[in-house]
């Protein structure tokens, strides 16, 4: 028992260090993005300097989107395969996704105030992301309040799946109100409508945010492992 326990905890240890290294490298990359965005990317003429918030807001939204989609996918897989790794990953991804949503939901209004003239508007995409944020806060609150690990995994997998299917419904229902949000400028069928310097900055920033997502999820996953090892040791004692 102690043998396998300490092997598990040393694996968790190594994973935690790797996650920390990746995250720190990504934060360093973020510094690079700042230099590129502030020094070497032209100022958009109509929006002024505030337009550069875009280089943080969009990648943060991207990471949050990946995080929440993966929660949905791993939740569905968990109910099928009952592999505890899937549950650990879903929990990690949800928490990290909430952190990225927090960045998205703060940088968004800061950009909207000078550009749209209002901090917040009930536009389709804003409302959707706000509710996603609430949904995953609820998901984490649920995880925090179920004691039995197996039961916790099943419950949160159900919420994860239902949440994934809720997204198109919230989007559809809010979309029927007129939408103000700028349309996607990169991921659309025709050629990207962004000047090359701006596109380059955006793509670098997206890569950095993706790396940060990987690092944070790795670290959070290692935390889950370490806590399980701790709880097992507590049960053995």
């Amino acid at each position: 028992m102690t043998g396998s326990g300490s092997a598990a905890s040393s694996a968790a240890r190594a994973l935690a260090r790797r996650g920390l290294r990746i995250s720190l490298a990504a934060l360093l990359g973020l510094a690079g993005v700042y230099v590129l965005a502030l020094r070497f990317t032209p100022v958009e003429l109509r929006q002024g300097p505030a337009q550069k918030i875009f280089y943080l807001h969009v990648p943060a939204a991207w990471s949050a989107l990946i995080a929440f989609s993966l929660v949905g996918v791993t939740s569905a897989l968990y109910l099928w395969l009952h592999d505890p790794r899937l549950d650990r990953f879903a929990a990690s991804s949800a928490e990290v996704g909430v952190a990225f949503s927090a960045v998205m939901l703060t940088t968004g209004p800061i950009w909207a105030k000078p550009i749209w003239g209002t901090w917040w508007t009930w536009d389709a995409r804003l409302t959707l992301t706000l509710f996603l944020f609430f949904l995953f806060i609820g998901y984490l609150a649920l995880r925090a309040s179920v004691h039995d690990p197996e039961e916790r995994a099943r419950f949160s997998a159900v919420v994860g799946i239902l949440g994934m299917l809720l997204v198109p419904f919230i989007h559809l229902s809010v979309y029927l109100f007129r939408t103000l949000h700028p349309q996607p400028v990169v991921l659309k069928p025709s050629a990207p409508s962004l000047p090359p310097e701006m596109l380059r900055t955006l793509l670098l920033s997206t890569a950095v945010f993706t790396l940060l997502y990987v690092g944070l999820v790795t670290l959070r996953y290692a935390l889950a492992l370490a806590e399980e090892a701790r709880d097992e040791a507590a049960d053995a004692a």
């Binding site: 102690t2 800061i110 959070r220 935390l223």
Partner: protein
């Protein structure tokens, strides 16, 4: 001259400060939680049961 470019550097600075504060803050908190979880496992290796001083059970964090 194109239409006048607005002066809104303040908003830019605010956003560029807020974002890393949130992300680095989360990373720090996460690392702290990892260290605490590891520390307690280590303590148990001596065969002693370690309790937190305030005797509380972990709540929201770590679940």
């Amino acid at each position: 001259m194109p239409p006048e470019t607005p002066h809104n550097v303040g908003y830019l600075v605010a956003a560029y400060v807020v974002a890393p504060v949130i992300l680095a803050g989360y990373l720090t908190a996460l690392w702290g939680r990892v260290r605490r979880a590891e520390g307690r496992t280590e303590g148990r290796k001596d065969g002693r049961t370690e309790r937190r001083k305030d005797g509380r059970v972990d709540g929201l964090e770590g679940r």
